[in-house]
Symmetry: C2
Amino acid sequence: MAILITGVAGFIGSNLARKLLSEGKAVIGLDNLCRGSMANMADFAQHPQFVFHEIDLTDLASYQACVSQYALKHPISEVWHLAANSDIPAGISDAAIDLRDTFMSTYNTLEVMKRLDIPALCFASTSAVYGDLGERLLQEDIGPLFPISNYGAMKLASEALISASVESFLKSAYIFRFPNVIGTPATHGVILDFIEKLKKTPDHLEVLGNGSQRKAYLHVDELIDAMLYIQSQARAPLNYFNIGAGDEGIFVRDIAQLVVAAVSPHATIAYGEGDKGWVGDVPRFSYSIEKLRKLGWRPKLGSVQAVQLAIKQIVADLSRA
Amino acid sequence: MAILITGVAGFIGSNLARKLLSEGKAVIGLDNLCRGSMANMADFAQHPQFVFHEIDLTDLASYQACVSQYALKHPISEVWHLAANSDIPAGISDAAIDLRDTFMSTYNTLEVMKRLDIPALCFASTSAVYGDLGERLLQEDIGPLFPISNYGAMKLASEALISASVESFLKSAYIFRFPNVIGTPATHGVILDFIEKLKKTPDHLEVLGNGSQRKAYLHVDELIDAMLYIQSQARAPLNYFNIGAGDEGIFVRDIAQLVVAAVSPHATIAYGEGDKGWVGDVPRFSYSIEKLRKLGWRPKLGSVQAVQLAIKQIVADLSRA
């Protein structure tokens, strides 16, 4: 049996593929290589249990043809659908980006699964489906769900279609609502931004917003550990879990200071105004992982430790490049 | 100023257009005439304040060109986006139907509104966004939202995109979550089904399911009254309301008996098995209209009275045809 991963060349997809291969699984990886890259898969691209196919998931006919061809050799037990737009601000200026990459990629994945009779889907959803619910604790069953970015909207749309599919043809689905995830290979996000800014101006770091934004961060290794744990333990047709660090998070100003300390200790930090980085960015939220704790999983690292580890890994990665 | 209605030739669209014209408003009506028909608009098609344009909303370029042309003459104050697939079972066997007619029509409507700077959207959503939450009272802020039909999924997807649009460019939006709506011109639904079955076999009515399904029904005149009331009273950027009869509803077996009494009093009724009519049909739910009551609106007819009135109107309509 083989496992199909969409978005395999991206940040989370490449880490997941590496992990599954290390456990002896056969992996079929798909990616359009727009945001992901071959470099992210360099260490396992030649693995005998791994095949990679460059493909645009928004072209249903070629998506189906491609998966059929592999399914003939190895029956596919499950799809991990991780492909999506990861640039939230870009998706707000142009809704077509999230329509295509975040939603139509899910729609087509479900169509292919229906036609080829693939029973299980693992889906990368997001805390952004909750929109801005103010100070309320974000547990999985909260409502209403009014996302404030097209990214969040198209992830919620994907969840809705998965839910309807479980009612009609899909055997089982796992919806993982991701927090902010960090680690390597870093493709975007505040840590990479700060490091790259400091490379250009080593004595000076400009921070978007006043630094009072607080967010929880989870390291990618822990995210993958949590997903595989959920998949092995949760048994409903439709399973949905928040995944996160489960703490209050870390302030942007603390991230800025940690990055400065690691990269350019003498740099001064200048803050902007307001507590929102950009339109569609939820300033602060409290994310419950109680349901996941009850299932028996908890993170080993808090947000601050995860950020420290990620800074170290990203800096090491960049110095090798 | 003019008001744009999509799906104007359908059941609710045609009733809304008639009402707005009677209030002296100028109405631009769009429809692809797949499920709607010119006959539904016969009494107001020649109204001097009304223009109709047959168009496929899923073609963004021609949608925009069409609306631009009218917007040059009459600035458009608001869009009532009612166009959607209305055949839930069809959308379950072929997800492409709801993708296109229920979701992409909304996506394109928002794109046109963004490009032409139209400030307000009124949107026909549905109780189907709630999925099957068992015995829980369906008030607007309940969660989780896991629809069980592609129709419900693509309405929730539309809501999500509207919500994100309010955050970025749309001035105001009204999301109306419709109950089962009845009246004329009837295009589908249990009353019409029963009447048509009895026309074929006047001595015999076969009911899908055991008749124990209970649903609340609202008459279309009351639905429109409620929507216009909400629009005049609610003032948030994003307003969302359940609309309904606010009662426990009527059993399918009672509808069967009322139809038989009105159409073919000597017919016998035969029931099937189970309490679900089809995949994706929520067997029973309790729909709260407390939020709408608090705003100051309440229905004049209960579900039973609404069904009685609708049967009378549909029978009269069919005898004229």
